[in-house]
Amino acid sequence: MAAGTTVRFTLLLVLLVVSSGSMMQAVTNRFYGASDYGCLLAAGGDPNQGVGRATAARIVPYFDAYQACRDRYEPGAPLWLTLLWPVLLVTVTVVLFWCLPRWKARRGRLVPLEAIDHDGEIRRRLAEFAAVAGLDRLPRVVVDPAAASTSAVVFGSNRRPIVCLHGGLLARRSTDPTAFRAVALHEFAHVRNGDVTLTYATIAVWRVFIALVLLPYVLWKLSEIPASARSQWWPADAPYATRELLLAVVMVTLVYLARSDVLRNREIYADLAAVRWGADPRGWAFTASDQAGGRLRRALGSFVELWRTHPRWKLRRDALADPAALFGVQALPMFLTGAAALLIETQTEAYWSLAVNASAARTTTTALVAAGLTSGVAGTALWRAVAHAVLTGRRMPSGVRAGLWLGAGLVVGELLWNRVAIGQWLPNHPLVLALVLCAGAVFGWWTAQCAQLWVRAWPGRTIQPAMLLGLSAAWLVLTSWFAWWSSQGTQLTSLGLFYGAGAGRVVQDTFGVFPNDDPAMLSMIGVVLEPLSSLDGPLVLSAVAALWVVPLLAWTLRPATVPPRWAFGALGGAGRPAAPGEVSPPLRRVLLVALAGVLTCWAAVAVVMGYMHTWQSPSGEQKSFYVLVYQAWALVALVAGATAAAIAASVLARRYRLLVALITAESVALGGLVGHFVLTAANGCFQPLNTLATRCQWRPGVAWSLVHMLLGYVLVLTAITAIIAAAIVSAARRAWRSRTESTVPEPRSGRVQGGLTARRLCALALSAAAVAATVTATGQQSSSEQQSSSGRTPRIDVQQLVPVDDAAVPDSTRRLQVAAWWFRGGQDLQDRYITVLKRLIAAQKDAADSGHGDVDPALFRPLCIDMGQIARDAGRYFPAPDPEIQALWRTFITQAEKAGGDCQQSLDHGDTDLFTAFMNEFTEAAKALVSVSGRVLEAGRAAFQEKPGGLPSRE
């Protein structure tokens, strides 16, 4: 089986390359004003109240103005400068990688083997070992005569490896040929396993990263702290500064620990290969200074061990007899993978934000990268652990613990980045982060169960196709998680759910105003709809389909009753595989439970219809709010029916509770939707169930549109509730088992009940239905997206949804807000107005000078247009942060707008009265503007007396 270490090295390399750009971006941004708070203050935000919250409340309604302000005053480092660092990192790494072996093997430090092996005897023996190891030719061999250790090392690259024998080993070769053979074969195993390039590439990139990125980054960030600590924005800056420095510490720890862990695994692989090629295990018999002593000493030893590139000798010796250590799922790699994946995801997104504006494409791409690496590392580890447990008959890993560690890594990675708590120590809703832990646990649980099912069923020559299928599904599931989390989850963590009244408004904006609505019901639908609306995207729907179709396909295989062919090679030659011992649980039972569930769903939908019938208006004419409530209850009924079936199925299942729950629940959901369709289409035919119609008629079109609307939500919500149900049942069974202390009955082995053909047909039919439903639901989703993008965009007052405490803004901050508002755009508008004013005076003077006093329309018309434009621009700019100034500003906008309109009309119609009105409005606008600038100057003077030195910045 694939060792999965290559993808772990790749994860580290990607992390370093991605981090190089984003970390240096944090440094270079300083020179491009991106860390200033000017535009945020101008919009009326208070950085000390938490940048995320302030941003949402103040900036979202004026996002265009904010973007224009940022682009002009705080643009941040350009893309080319940010991309320069990864390019530089890769280039210097390539150079260092090329130089490293030359430097190591330089003259005066090492000598070629030929220089001391006069009779060629050592070379002959090494060539013999190389042939045993399956190498095409003997690699270049050098000697370090000054090294007394009985060891050797390989460096260079996979194509040009250089094996260096230590003096101690050479001196011992005749007295201890066993050790000589073991060491030589171990080194050749590294060459054969292709460890050399990846190991030294990782070392090279890490060294270059330290020199080019980490050191400048840390020094720069440290140097910024003193000035930042004196700033008024220190409460907002302190979390930034701390995270930035913590990021450096975590990067060092993460890279060292992950690299050492991978290298330790590679060592055991090399040991195993050497022994397989005939090395005597006694070659590992020396050095018995393994951990001993008290608990504290052992704990310290284990901690030190984490940082070493070689495992303890005892572990290595034990691994030769039983390589279980290579197949275990350990907490540390899982945790590190989670943290690294999240750092890659957030940092890649930071790059994309410089280049692409489309946030959906950006989110999906970054999620694909992060999820690919995570499922590659964590998924492979779980598959290996499961395969090992199946083949050796050991305890099966549940995957939950591993998943929780992965989730913990994701949480730590998230808290290291300024995404869920911007300018704050903790997010406003930290409990939402528990979702990440749950997602990790579900990923681990599902992957382990899916792996177990496939490993037990797979009859092929190699397990790779099954593993590839399972990991691809895991990749899809994780991608949808990452995409959802980065777009919705993070928002939920920092801002929370929408508030009731505001959420009701969102529903009204989306579906139209309902005359007879119930505000409480409307708010509830709004609150639920917001997080729900992000769940029926194509990515989530495909992930849900993968969650139950991929395990379902395992039932199409003929169960293996003898050890399959792939099992003999999977353990790396250590141990003989046991028979699979268990067949997949009978599909018939799952289907029977599902059938009962479908009937329950139909009954539940009928109950909903009966309930809604009591509301039905006598005329039979239904309001859209009634239909909305009907649909909401139908959704609840379908999901509840499916969840009940999931509970029943997982209670009855002895193994694979999660998979069985998912398959049952989703099948029931599809069957339930069919019932919903039939009952709705035949609406009006059953008196107590009449809801949408009073006359009996077959209406498939209406029914289909209603079912279509619910399809995605039902599928996704059912999957979520089925997972929760399976988790609760599993936990309860576990608790019950531990109380009664009875053992789980061993699953039956041998013959499967029921015919293979029938099973295959059922599994394929359900899979086809799942795919069809997903495609249909995806189509519904994209068409509704098109409708909403082509239709009106609801303008929602975000402050209703995310309230901020406006009264809590201190006066000093308010004055700075006013100053920022003025200097980031207000003054610019004033200057433009003054220019128009000057041109107007000049034009009037020209008219007076011409003698007849008539205005020239060609001269005045551009002025009218400009004035209207200034008024419109001022309307789009942020409202003034001070209420009095805002009142004056409003007057200016109104008067300027009127002046622009009247000016044009007076010229068009030659209306002198209108022209006089225009002049009056123009003057009024100017007066208001003068008052605005006067008030701003007052506030500004006070602000600058408090804090001289211009506009505040984040540093």
């Binding site: 005569p145 007394a148 060891s151 090392v153 230590h166 101690g168 080993l169 073991a182």
Partner: protein, 164 residues
Amino acid sequence: MLDVVRDVVAGVAPEELVLVDGLAGLDDDAVMRRLGRRGGRREPLGFGLGEVAVLVTPVVWLVVDEAARRFGSAVGEDAAKGTKAVLRKLLRRPAAAVVVPDLTREQLAGVHQQVVETAVKHGLEDSRARLIADAVAGRLALAAAGGDADEPDGPDSDGTAALD
């Protein structure tokens, strides 16, 4: 000096002759620096920090080199210091060969004592350490008596092989 080391090692630990050949190909200063270093380095893709072999060659090399430097001409010292040394390193030129001068009886006794101490410090047993010290002192005394320090046929003629 190299011949003295080679002769002694050939006598007491012939399996280490390959190391002497290897060290001969290296720069003197580099050899001294690296032989003086204790313990090994943890290298990725190495076999791991296993046993450190108790070797005779470093003991003999270190003591003979020190004796040559202490009792020999100032040429050797000059070669290892100052701007010349820096230039030499930059140009990757080997240092001038260290020549062992004829030693007096007292000096030989001192060298003997030094070998025993160094050998014990390097983990060799006392009896083995004395054997090596005898071989070194004998080889140096022979060189002083016969003036054949530069001739490579020492091991068979000086009788140290019999001590092995």
